[in-house]
């Protein structure tokens, strides 16, 4: 593929890797060369084959299920399992974290590699080692803390500590920062730089191209299962637009579509919304929050992770989170109550959750079942579901969202991460909501597809619907929203109109604990 690599020590070479799933050629003769001690990025659109490539490398897809060679430190490897690749010093951190929430940090780190003395686990030793490891990744928590009590950013660091405990030589991170906010991401990237200094080689997959630009020493771009090109910092500094051009085959003029909003009346209003934490009595997750949405308007919610944006949205959406304490909802001038999710959907609300695997999808289902699952009455003209209506709906969203699959009858578990996210979006667009609440809708989605999703959001707004956009990416909020609320510790701390808003101001409002303006 015209890939030439300067001749410092090559850590890893993957040669002519081909991986076929029934009906899909996920990888078609991909070459990947990673030099020792570099941070190597893999970029590509959703479904390009990035995750598949690193799964081949780490033995998740064992030797024999793919074609081609893996050469590590000059030796051909035939990993039969994840365990085998770990033995060779390759550790993969998956797109979805694999920590066990009920177990402590120590237990998670040594899970499967328990330190045993005299046939029993030596917990003192394990805890001591954990403390060291945590210090290396710069995480200051008690090793006995349960994982579920850590934030996502911290969990990510625990994953890396776990990798370090295994004596890692080649660290693979599949979209490590997609669920992280900016400061956590920055933290992680710093850590990776530090590890590079000490000679660790890593491979990173990410859709956040600015981070790639910042940290990577080389980039391999994959498109439709083919390695399109390799960019090297040594030749020219990495450049986002250049990477995009490789990924999508053309340059992208703008990140956000042109849009002239046509904003109407206020039709949805929440007043003094107060919600208590379901597990910790007395702790308020939303403190007397009030906001409005106008027809045709895209309203953003900015806040740091844990500010209570998701909790606010979910408690409004049929009280699906927390314990309702006070507050009113007005829809089209009429005060309504939405005691159940069903009633919220019936009233035209839709909520696209941030965590697709646990809240958005039934992974056993097909794409087609999933698309219609939030509003079955639409495909039930009489007593029975009409499967042809179902198929039509699924096909419609497959096309309009460009979900990459040969067939909507396939299971959602066969889709790449980004395409799963599109299915969740389709599922809620199918309900044709009046108010669409999007919680981190572009997480893990490639630049091109983001643009398409933004276009769809704009279209929805132009049709007179209201959109609430919760996002941790400030540029996205600034690029898309007509108005932005800032949330901090369960309180709405500010409201900024389009044009008046800038990053610094939002940041400041996002971290003020004082009450709303």
């Amino acid at each position: 593929m015209g890939v030439s690599v300067s001749t410092s020590h090559v850590k890893l070479e993957m040669r002519n890797i081909t991986k076929v799933f029934p009906g899909v050629k996920a990888l078609d003769g991909v070459d990947l060369t990673v030099r020792a001690g570099e941070i190597h990025a893999i970029c590509g659109e959703n479904g390009a084959g990035k995750s598949t490539l690193v799964k081949v490398l780490s033995g998740v897809y064992p030797h024999g299920t793919y074609e081609g060679d893996i050469v590590l430190d000059g030796e051909v490897q035939t990993f039969k399992s994840l365990k085998a690749s770990e033995h060779a010093g390759i550790v993969i951190i998956h797109q979805e974290l694999a920590l066990i929430p009920e177990l402590s940090v120590t237990e998670n780190i040594f899970l499967g590699n328990e330190i045993v003395s005299h046939g029993l686990i030596d917990w003192d030793e394990a805890r001591g080692r954990t403390t060291e490891l945590l210090a290396r990744v710069g995480l200051e928590v008690d090793p006995r803390t349960q994982i579920k009590n850590l934030g996502v950013g911290q969990q990510q660091l625990v994953e890396i500590a776990k990798a370090l405990s295994k004596n890692v030589k080649l660290l693979i991170l599949d979209e490590p920062t997609s669920a992280l906010n900016e400061s956590d991401s920055e933290n992680l990237l710093d850590l990776l730089r530090g590890l590079r200094e000490r000679g660790l080689t890593s491979i990173i997959i990410s859709h956040k191209l600015n981070e790639i630009e910042e940290i990577a020493d080389a980039v391999t771009i994959i498109r439709d299962g083919l390695a399109i090109e390799r960019l090297d910092v040594a030749d020219a500094p990495l450049d986002e637009d250049r990477i995009i051009k490789g990924m999508v085959g053309r340059s992208l003029e703008a990140r956000y579509p042109e849009h002239t909003p046509d904003i109407g009346e206020v039709f949805f209003e929440v007043r003094n919304w107060t919600v208590e934490d379901p597990t910790i009595p007395g702790r308020l997750m939303s403190k007397s929050s009030s906001f409005q949405v106008r027809r045709g308007e895209i309203v953003g919610f900015a806040g740091v992770m844990g500010a209570g944006r998701t909790e606010l949205a979910r408690s409004v959406f049929g009280r699906s989170f927390g314990i309702y304490r006070a507050g009113t909802i007005t829809l089209d001038g009429e005060e309504i109550t939405l005691p159940t999710v069903k009633s919220a959907i019936a009233r035209g609300l839709a909520y696209v959750p941030e965590d697709r695997k646990t809240l958005g999808l039934n992974l056993l289902d097909s794409i087609r079942d999933t698309i219609v699952s939030a509003d079955l009455s639409r495909i039930t003209p009489g007593l029975l579901l009409d499967e042809s209506l179902e198929y039509k709906a699924a096909e419609h969203y497959r096309k309009s969202l460009r979900i990459k699959t040969p067939d909507v009858n396939r299971g959602v578990s066969t889709l790449s991460g980004g395409n799963q996210q599109k299915v969740v979006l389709g599922k809620w667009m199918f309900t044709e909501p009046e108010l669409l609440i999007l919680d981190e809708p572009t997480r893990g989605i490639d630049v091109g597809a983001k643009y398409e999703i933004y276009t769809l959001i704009n279209k929805l707004a132009d049709a007179g619907r209201g959109v609430v956009l919760i996002s941790s990416e400030l540029p996205e909020l600034l690029g898309m929203c007509d108005r932005i609320y800032t949330v901090c510790e369960g309180r709405i701390t500010g409201e900024v109109a389009r044009g008046e808003a800038d990053q610094e101001q939002l940041m400041r409002l996002m971290t003020t604990t004082s009450s709303a303006a």
Binding site: P101, E107, S320, D355, K357, L364
Partner: protein, 456 residues
Amino acid sequence: MKSIRSLFGGDPRQFSMLGALVILIMLFQVLTGGKVLTPSNMMNLINGNSYVLILAIGMVMVIVVGHIDLSVGSVAAVTGIIVALALRDWGIPWWAGILLGLAVGAVIGMWQGYWVAYVGIPGFITTLAGMMIFRGLNQYIGDSNSIPVPEELQFLGGGYLWEWGPNTGFNNSTLLLGIIAGAFVVWREWRKRVRAARVGFEPDPLPIAAIRAGLLIALISYATYLFGTGREGTSFPVPGVVLVILVIIYHVITQRTKFGRHVYAVGGNRAAAALSGVSTKRTYFFVMANMSVLAAFAGMMFIGRARASGPFDGTLWELDAIAAVFIGGAAVTGGIGTVTGSIIGGLVMATLNNGLQLMGAGSDETQIIKGLVLLAAVAFDVYNKKQGRPSVIALLMRRRPTFRDDDAAAAATPDGGSSQAGPVGAQEELETATSSTPATETSHPTRNANNERQEP
């Protein structure tokens, strides 16, 4: 292989399971020197197993939704005794007795559904309690006596269809059923093509559709011949007719109604279902309640066949029903399983029983073999999943047709479970929901962690 696949294209699962069943029957047919495929033996087989198969219909829904019901045998028994006593002592007509029995089942079902759905006690525990309670009630109400039941009920539990019309050499009722079934197969094949054309699917090539329909019709014809030419006064048995009707009804309910979708949604990922507007409580409630109603029905069929209701009716039925469901491809973790699969699973067990009996095996040997078959069927399945191959049973039996994500089961989704659940929350519906991560694969490499000791 490819051509077989396209032959069974739209719906490979029934066919492949059916294939296994047919092979098993043939095997016993040969081993017993032709004693299996005789009219009287097949009638016995149906009469003697229809009640367990009816239980399997309800059980698969319970298992798909993520619970289990251990009380079905006891529920059947207590219904049996109540109905038998009511018919004997109160002099109510037989149909009122059946309605009463169904009402008893409904009340018991609502009781169990209440504990499972609204109090949140796992089905296993609720029905373990129910198993004891209702067994005890059966013996308390009936004073541990055997109570005979009237003829009409015997008709339901072991009767035969009427003889009528001209002498065709067949039992005409059976013949009529056979013709209806054959016509249905043709009609379904035709409708499939019409629908495909309407929606823009590529329909199966005509010869393939024809072969498929032909095979089914041959099967139906043979069954018609077998059941229609038995001893004078016999036919396709009434319990068989009841069973077929129930299978059709429940197949449609599970595959083609909102409620059915909700059952699979809740079983597959409870939290996601709740956020899609599904009331998980109502789903649990109705699935549990339905199970008890079917158990009551099975109980009445059984006393009809046994001609009396006794204190030990229905013992261990729950295990037969559960075995049928798992042999039929359901997943222990919920979300996967079908009514038709479970029926076929139940027939596999029944054929084993019957064939071994005909070969002169004692109940000791029969039990051992049945146990081994159950283990082997599920182990084979699990093994296939581990190898990253399609789980022959589960994947084929998955409720939607045309799933061919072969490698998917093993490796596609390293969902570590609670990836970024954060402060996952809970308004009743969602309370325990987050722990119910869709358990697609038990064998994911990063999760080999089950019995980790708690850190001191």
